[in-house]
């Protein structure tokens, strides 16, 4: 009959996350546009915004081509927002699957997180390919730093989402509060402006936001000439680390009760 493997805990985790990941891919793109939508939607936004800003500043924004300026802002803020929404909904969405003892809530959060990261990376690469064929000039002065920024922002988003996801199990209204809180993030995270456009005395009002740091730092990493005076990597890394620490603590003490309600 069917042989069932005796797996160690790591193998179980790996298999479960992979299975959930495949399930995510299979069920997320069910309409006719499918995967293409994941690329088309941000791309159209970037073109629109960079066209508008490009008309105002002649195609260059603080030494970066406006298209790339918008691209980093747009893709990073979308990476944050989409990861946050889908990961924080992951526990509730997959509730029926916790009937299988092997499926733990964090696996579904991680599967959603990986899925979002891969999609955004694919979009990044695709946009670079498009830029190459359109013969737009682009520079990547410090590609490693770009990657680190993206990953740090992603970790920050996943950690926040894990906390929200657990909280939602106890208080369902949290999801509404979360969507109200995350909406302004699009507008205050330097997606279509630069900190250099903002007078120095107003920086403290925007500076607390790690997403803004990630976006400005990524632009700086791509174009060394772009000034990142207002932001610091230390702040970005430490907010991600603190959020990760607390989310894992909260998860560890509460996951069993969170799914038993």
């Amino acid at each position: 009959m069917t042989t069932v493997l005796k797996r160690n805990n790591w193998a179980i985790w790996r298999d479960v996350i992979f299975a959930l990941f495949v399930r995510e891919i299979r069920t997320s793109f069910n309409d006719r546009l499918g995967l293409a939508w994941a690329v088309l939607q941000p791309l159209s936004f970037i073109f629109m915004l960079s066209y508008m800003r490009g008309r105002m500043d002649g195609g260059d924004t603080h030494t970066i081509p406006t298209f790339e300026f918008m691209m980093y802002g747009m893709l990073l803020v979308q990476l944050f927002l989409e990861t946050l929404t889908s990961c924080s909904g992951a526990i509730k969405k997959n509730k029926a699957l916790f009937a299988f003892r092997q499926v733990q809530p964090i696996s579904s959060v991680l599967a959603a997180a990986l899925f979002n990261l891969l999609i955004k990376l694919a979009v990044f690469i695709l946009i670079f390919v498009i830029m190459y064929f359109l013969k737009m000039d682009f520079k990547l002065d410090d590609p490693l730093f770009v990657i680190i920024n993206i990953l740090t922002l992603w970790i920050f988003a996943v950690s926040l989402a894990l906390m929200f996801a657990i909280a939602q199990c106890y208080i369902p209204e949290i999801s509404k509060i979360q969507s109200v809180l995350s909406r302004p993030m699009f507008f205050i995270s330097a997606v279509f402006f630069s900190m250099q456009d903002v007078p120095k005395e107003y920086w403290p009002y925007l500076d607390w936001n790690p997403i803004l740091h990630a976006i400005e730092l990524t632009r700086h990493a791509a174009y060394g000439t772009y000034s990142a005076e207002a932001v610091s990597e230390l702040f970005l890394f430490s907010s991600a680390l603190v959020a990760l620490f607390f989310s894992i603590c909260i998860y560890h003490i509460s996951w069993k009760q969170a799914i038993s309600r």
Binding site: M1, T2, T3, V4, L5, K6, R7, A11, I12, D15, V16, F18, A19, V22, R23, R26, T27, N30, A96, L97, F98, A99, F100, R101, Q102, V103, K256, Q257, I259, S260, R261
Partner: protein
């Protein structure tokens, strides 16, 4: 053998915590096919879900070294937008089945859904979903199958088939069953656990258990 140690379980509600079990200590003996008897709301499904590890007690623990199935109810873990084959594959993957292709083929054969097996589950009729769920669980070898009223759905032919395969299984494995149909229980089980007001009582003889349950 499954050991329940100091198990306390409650659900929070508007009227305060609703206790299902309070400091329950119990041993479910191995080697029996057990029927769980209890009135509506006595906590049969909760007990089931805790045994399966789908839910956890608020206090205490449940200890076993046996390989228990998930609680096989009408459509556990089946995604409406995925096809029957994809669902079977998912369940196989999660449970660590070594040869997934073989497993999916076996589920296909058993569920007898024909071409519908390759269509999304939301196109299935209400009788077909439990068939898929049951076929998925019977395709994996467990020590104990937790069956929650699934054998009483589907058409006569499928019921007969489910009965046969479950009887076949109960030679090498055991079942713990919840059902309100006594005939069904008499067919599969030899002993009973009666659940009443948060207390469990084991009866070695099924008829004795049924008599007690009906006298409650």
């Amino acid at each position: 053998m499954i050991k329940l140690k100091n198990v306390t379980k409650y659900y929070p509600s508007a009227l305060g915590n609703q206790y299902i079990f309070k400091n329950l200590n119990f041993e479910i003996p191995g080697g029996h096919n057990i029927a769980i008897l209890g009135s509506n709301g006595a906590g049969k499904s909760t007990l089931f879900r805790m045994l399966a590890g789908s839910e956890y007690p608020n206090k205490g623990e449940i200890i076993t070294d046996l390989h228990l199935s998930w609680p096989v109810a009408l459509a556990t873990g089946i995604h409406p937008q995925m096809t029957g084959a994809e669902n079977a594959r998912f369940i196989g993957m999660v449970n660590g089945v070594a040869d997934l292709d073989l497993y999916v083929r076996r589920v296909r054969q058993f569920a007898e859904l024909g071409p519908k097996f390759d269509l999304p589950v939301n196109t299935y009729s209400s009788g077909m979903k439990p068939r898929l769920a049951f076929a998925c669980s019977i395709g994996i070898d467990f020590d104990i199958y937790l069956i929650d009223e699934v054998t009483s759905v589907g058409d006569a032919k499928f019921r007969k088939k489910a009965r046969e395969s479950l009887t076949q299984k109960s030679k090498s494995a055991n079942v713990i069953m919840v059902s309100h149909e006594m005939d069904e229980l008499r067919h599969f089980c030899d002993s009973a656990i009666v659940l009443h007001q948060g207390e469990l009582t084991f009866y070695n003889d099924l008829e004795q258990g049924i008599a007690h349950y009906q006298a409650l």
